[in-house]
């Protein structure tokens, strides 16, 4: 157990070199890769997410943590069983049509990945039908829509409507976010959840996946 604490702390302290060392050490000691991932890296990122939510960490630091975590996952990936990799929820994320804002949405995608889910980041200016197509293709359980402009917020509603029309609405939980978006707006357009920052978005996504 001590090893996991050290892995978590090292991740929070952004020491990438040391983290890689600790992951390799743990494997050598015969600790299962799945445990290192879930109890070490993902648990560490949960702390990072919480610190981010409380504004105790700068975003560049969060990104560094996510990068360090990614390096750790790379080592573990070949050793993880089929079940452990496929059990991860599949998330489609993108910025809605007409909106070109990228950074915040990428941050959410990164935090979702760090929470142990698989994020398919479609990019910006994504049409409703493209979202629908990708939900089918990736058999996604969560759809995350981003908008920064008040003028593109209605496009979130149109995208949700397109999902309903396609008959996929029962298959996916829909999350919305972006600076002007509020819980009230999310309720109004029929989304399942709203998150105000990337840390809580990842937490919410994880909770939604566990509902399935």
């Amino acid at each position: 157990m001590t090893d996991f604490n050290e892995i978590k702390e090292t991740l929070v302290n952004l020491d990438e070199q040391r983290l890689i060392q600790l992951v390799n050490d743990a494997l050598e000691k015969g600790i299962p890769a799945g445990d290192i991932l879930n109890k070490g890296l993902i648990a560490g990122m949960d702390i990072v997410g919480e610190k981010m939510e409380n504004e105790d960490m700068f975003i560049p630091e969060v990104l560094m943590a996510a990068r360090a975590m990614g390096k750790g996952v790379e080592i573990l990936k070949p050793l993880l069983g089929e079940e452990e990799t496929s059990a991860r929820g599949s998330v489609i994320i993108g910025t809605v049509k007409g909106d070109l804002h990228d950074i915040g949405k990428n941050l959410v995608a990164m935090m979702i990945e760090s929470a142990g889910l698989t994020a398919h980041n479609l990019g910006v200016d994504i049409a409703p039908e493209e979202f629908v197509r990708m939900i089918k293709e990736k058999n996604a359980s969560i759809l995350c829509l981003s908008a920064l402009l008040t003028t593109t917020m209605p496009m979130m509603k149109q995208t949700i409507d397109a999902v309903v029309e396609s008959g996929l609405r029962d298959q996916v939980k829909i999350m919305v976010g972006g600076a002007p978006v509020t819980q009230a707006f999310a309720d109004e357009i029929g989304a399942d959840a709203f998150a105000s920052d990337a840390g809580s978005a990842a937490k919410t996504a994880k909770a939604l996946v566990n509902q399935f």
Binding site: E55, I59, P60, L63, M64, Q183, S196
Partner: protein, 486 residues
């Protein structure tokens, strides 16, 4: 981030030509109008006469030849180092080096529990001093309030004691009389390990309001000032006329009269003890012509305090002045902008020792724990302005721009990580930049509530005893120390 002693002088309300005009006007005031004195200063007057001043003993008036003033003022040190008990708090006062701290002799405090105004106590003085000790941007501790719950006879020693026990920053205050001065110097010498060590590292200094504007010497304070000179204890020569009542209504007239008062005061000090460490203590203020009260928060106070530093810098004597006051009764938008305006102007003027810039409300009448936290933030911002914009290769970041390339982002660049804690002012936590949701979740607290929370958290920490126990025992045997530290 240590932002103490940065270079000001970016804001120059007086042009070089205007500085000369005012300086000449002040010399003319001393030559023609002169200053007056009252009974009890015969020795001082005799000393001035022996060195060239003309005395009219019937009118009790002293006039000064300009050469005499110029000669004596030149003896004042260009740099005065005011130390802290901890050397990291040493203040190097010279040229345009800027420091800001507390001030005043407030008699009321906003009670941290009720929020209402009540009389200040010895415990408040100690606790506020502890708070100041923990706020990084407040560079020194001028006794912030009066302990109204103790006898006046016990003031001097107890107020210095409370400040020195609570903080390792430089402590400055006034004293009631020469005996009080001697007691305070004796106590400080005990802490320093001898008078010679105290003189070498003066972690206390005194304020003497030697001049009663316009142009009159205060007998008692002049005695204290001269005694401090003889003891080699640094002294701030406070004189604080209010435009419209105790100086001309106009800013230039106020500056000319005030500069004259300072030139006379510095002359007395240097004749008493050549080379005595003094701070030019001109504090230009404004009368509220509707009430004749003090308008501490007026933007012109900031302008005039910047200008008075230009005049002190002109004669190469480091200065003590005032900014960061507000006429508001509570921490609110008015106190925020009045403090920010005046503190920034005085800082950008290059003032060396700006007191009154933390904790005060209602001009100089009231203090509040939460206001110290807010003002710490304002001072931090002022100092950040002085720090300016670094333009060296590392800060120009051409390599980073090239490696990130068009269309990329800088969030994960090592350059970002390397500079993100130092390039921008990070604050003490009182400033709200959260999302509305988060802010509402945390109770929709305004700045006053947030600041009070920070103050309480800081004060809940352990009490550092800056006076070592064995010395404290000896001090308590010798003096009537009333503060009980639990």
């Amino acid at each position: 981030m240590n932002l103490m002693g940065l270079q000001g002088g970016q804001y120059c309300p007086l042009s070089p030509e205007q500085i000369k005009i005012v300086h000449e006007a002040s010399l003319k005031i001393l030559e023609r109008t002169g200053i007056i004195y009252e009974q009890g200063l015969e020795d001082t007057v005799q000393m001035l006469e022996d060195n060239g001043a003309a005395i009219d003993r019937d009118r009790k008036n002293i006039t000064f030849p300009r050469d005499m003033i110029i000669e004596q003022v030149a003896k004042a040190p260009e740099k005065v180092v005011l130390c802290g008990q901890d050397s990291k708090n040493d203040l190097h006062l010279t040229r345009n080096r800027v420091h800001l701290g507390t001030g005043g002799a407030a008699i009321k405090i906003l009670d941290p529990e009720t929020g209402d105004s009540r009389s200040t106590t010895l415990k408040d003085l100690y606790e506020v001093s502890r708070l100041v000790d923990k706020l990084d941007n407040i560079h020194f501790l001028v006794r912030p309030c009066i302990a109204t719950d103790i006898d006046e006879a016990d003031y001097d020693i107890n107020m210095f004691y409370a400040c020195l026990a609570a903080s390792s920053k430089h402590v400055m205050a006034g004293v009631n009389d020469e005996k009080g001065l001697h007691n305070v110097v004796e106590m400080a010498s005990m802490i320093a390990g001898g008078l010679d060590k105290l003189i070498k590292r003066p972690f206390i200094s005194v304020i003497t309001s030697f001049a009663i504007s316009p142009l009159k010497l205060c007998t008692q304070s002049t005695h204290i000032m001269q005694e401090a000179n003889r003891c080699r204890i640094p002294v701030a020569l406070s004189s604080a006329p209010m435009a419209g009542s105790t100086s001309p209504l106009t800013m230039a007239g106020t500056l000319a009269q005030l500069h004259a008062e300072q030139l006379a005061g510095i002359t007395i000090c240097q004749l008493t003890q050549a080379g005595a460490p003094v701070l030019y203590g001109g504090i230009p203020g404004m009368a509220n012509l509707k009430t004749m009260g003090y308008s501490g928060g007026a933007v012109e106070c900031g302008m005039m305090n910047a200008a008075i530093h230009q005049l002190s810098n002109h004669i190469k004597v480091p200065n003590y002045n005032s900014s960061g006051l507000s006429d508001s009764k509570v921490p609110d938008a008015q106190s925020g902008y009045e403090k920010a305006f005046t503190a920034l102007l005085a800082s950008m003027g290059g003032s060396n020792y700006i007191h009154h810039s933390a904790g005060m409300l209602e001009s100089m009448l009231t203090i509040a724990y939460e206001q110290y936290v807010i003002d710490d933030e304002i001072i931090g911002n002022c100092c950040k302005v002085l720090k300016g914009i670094d333009c060296d290769a590392e800060h120009l970041a051409l390599e980073v721009i090239d490696s990130v390339g068009p269309g990329g982002n800088f969030m994960t660049a090592p350059h970002t990580m390397a500079h993100m804690r130092t390039e921008y002012y990070n604050g003490n936590g009182v400033t709200d930049r959260k999302s509305r949701e988060k802010w509402e979740q945390e109770g929709s607290r305004d700045i006053r509530q947030r600041a009070l929370d920070i103050a309480k958290k800081l004060l809940a920490g352990p009490k550092t005893l800056y006076i070592p126990e064995e010395i404290d025992r000896v001090i308590r045997e010798k003096f009537n120390i009333l503060l009980e530290i639990q």
